[in-house]
């Protein structure tokens, strides 16, 4: 859970309150709070004067609009064929060992979530992953350890 405050209002002022403003508003909430709570979706529905089911229907369609708890840093490891061939398994193993979570889980301090994702467009530099919006490519277990250490220090 997080405190929404005036975020929905601010985002609606920025993007408008038409139906096509829905995606940018939801994206804005996720950017700040990493996932969408039921309360956030109800708040958006009120602000846009549409049903909460419509908001949930849209949000749940998109993998980046998470409706379940996600950490501050969402790690998405590409699992499509080239990344799979080039060592995705090792990368996942390294991340699981380091963060002490399995794929699909979030660390208890709510800092990291680890998930697998479909092709992110870095096949020529496989294996690849996204941490929030930043891509990291040509990964090795050693490289992954360094990257995650960097994020841990950021906290």
């Amino acid at each position: 859970m997080y405190q929404l405050g005036n975020l929905v209002k601010e985002l609606s002022d920025k993007h408008g309150r038409a139906r096509e403003s829905l995606m940018p508003i939801l994206q804005g909430i996720v950017e700040k709070h990493n996932y969408l709570t039921d309360e956030a979706m109800v708040e958006v529905a009120k602000e846009l004067d549409i049903s909460a089911a419509e908001v949930y229907g849209t949000a749940s369609f998109y993998t980046f609009l998470d409706t379940q708890v996600r950490g501050k840093y969402v790690i998405r490891v590409c699992k499509t064929i080239t990344c799979s061939m080039k060592g995705k398994g090792e990368i996942i193993q390294t991340l699981e060992d380091m963060l002490k979570i399995k794929v699909g889980e979030t660390t208890s301090d709510r800092q990291f979530s680890l998930i697998e994702t479909n092709c992110i467009g870095w096949c020529h530099k496989a294996p690849a992953m996204l941490i929030n919006e930043m891509p990291y490519t040509e990964l090795t277990p050693e490289k992954v350890v360094e990257i995650i250490k960097g994020y841990m220090q950021k906290k």
């Binding site: 139906r19 995606m23 369609f61 980046f64 064929i81």
Partner: protein, 386 residues
């Protein structure tokens, strides 16, 4: 069968003065622009290959003050990453192509739909867009481009799903007709073009349709940016003239042990070694939106097929039954065959299912799952079974 061999080309990333080209385009009529694109023979570069000039012509013909140019930058096909590179390196040419399309069809608004996975590019793209807007205003254009971000859904690369997403809904494809040319985004006439198509259109205006149409073959004019990955010593982006055989491609990019090339991504076709020589990369042979994946003999084609089916089962929007259930059943089916839970002849039943999906699915996703399925199962049957 026309065969042009393997030739590297430098059009898409070539440095040009956009102001000069757009000033030239400003002075010619919409009809003349459309004629140039028609003459060039350009077909859409996203994969489906609809003639761009015709798309513009149909959209231009609709009498309606409010029209849109939409740039499809929802590059999600596994193995494709050329649009990211194009936006990263020559975004001004993408914007330029949109302005030209706008002039051709009579639109004042452009929307770039960028996949969420490429969001990190946005700050830089917006900065370039600001200066681009200033430049075209100086020339006299009344055209405005905005960005719309995707949020991780492969299906939104399908044009009508993309419109639904822009409008704030679930990215579920619409029934066609009506086609986008009459009823696209916000139900207005829309020309939706791939990133590379728009850049190519700008280059056709730069160099003229004659020089462009000399590249490629009768069915596949011009050049194409290929995204090359897999078992290759030189993965990356290469612009090549259309009309080469898979063999010529493999000679250049293979690792000496290539057993198959997946042309066109997960929704494309698998070409086995024995067919390299007589298969042309292009609309007369195997079409591609640019994705080229090479597999050497150390790879299991079962794993490749399983990975693709898993991808489709996740990315199917679930709206129509043939695709939703079909993707899941194909995936479960090959798993059962592999485990020996069913006879290998079960693959024939799955093949029928894939064929049914081709005719019964609502959009290109479900219709093309059978491409990879059929070509992998037919050519590597023993690898699927044992």
């Amino acid at each position: 069968m026309e065969n042009k061999g393997l030739n590297k080309v430098d059009l898409i990333f070539e440095k040009i003065d956009p102001k000069e080209v757009l000033t030239k385009a400003y002075k010619i009529s919409p009809d003349a622009i459309i004629q140039q694109i028609l003459d060039s023979g350009l077909k859409g570069r996203g994969g489906a290959g609809f003639p761009t000039g015709l798309k513009w012509k149909y959209t231009a013909a609709v009498k309606e003050p409010d029209k849109y140019v939409v740039c499809n930058a929802d590059e999600g096909e596994p193995g494709t990453f050329k649009d990211r590179e194009i936006l990263d390196r020559v975004a001004y040419k993408v914007y330029g192509g949109m302005v030209i399309a706008g002039k051709a069809i009579g639109a004042k608004k452009g929307i770039v739909y960028l996949r969420g996975e490429y969001r990190f590019l946005l700050p830089q793209l917006m900065k370039e867009l600001d200066s681009f807007h200033k430049m075209i205003k100086q020339i006299g254009y009344d055209f405005n481009i905005s960005y719309c971000m995707g949020s991780g859904a492969y299906i939104c690369g399908e044009e009508s799903a993309l419109f639904e997403s822009i409008e704030g809904g679930r990215g579920e494809p619409r029934n066609k007709p009506p086609y986008p040319t009459t009823s696209g985004v916000f139900n207005k006439p829309t020309s939706i073009n791939n990133v590379e198509t728009l850049v190519t259109a700008m280059m056709i205006l730069t160099h003229g349709p004659e020089s462009y149409s000399q590249l490629g073959t009768k069915d596949s004019r011009g050049s194409k940016v290929f995204s090359i990955s897999g078992d290759t010593p030189t993965p990356g982006i290469f612009e090549l003239e259309l009309g080469m055989s898979v063999q010529e491609f493999v000679n250049e990019f293979g690792d000496g042990d290539t057993k198959a090339v997946q042309v066109g991504g997960a929704s494309g076709f698998c070409v086995p070694r024995k067919k390299f020589g007589n298969t042309i990369i292009g609309f007369e042979g195997v079409p591609t939106g640019g994705s080229m994946k090479l597999f050497n003999s150390s790879r299991s084609m079962y794993n490749v097929l399983h990975n693709y089916l898993d991808f489709f089962a996740e990315e199917s929007c679930g709206q129509c039954t043939p695709c939703r259930v079909g993707c899941q059943q194909l995936l479960k089916g090959v798993e059962k065959v592999k485990k020996g839970e069913v006879k290998s002849t079960y693959l024939n039943e799955l093949m029928k299912l894939a064929d049914t999906m081709k005719v019964a699915s609502k959009c290109g996703l479900g219709q093309s799952v059978g491409n990879a399925f059929r070509t992998i199962v037919e050519n590597f049957r023993e690898e699927i079974i044992y």
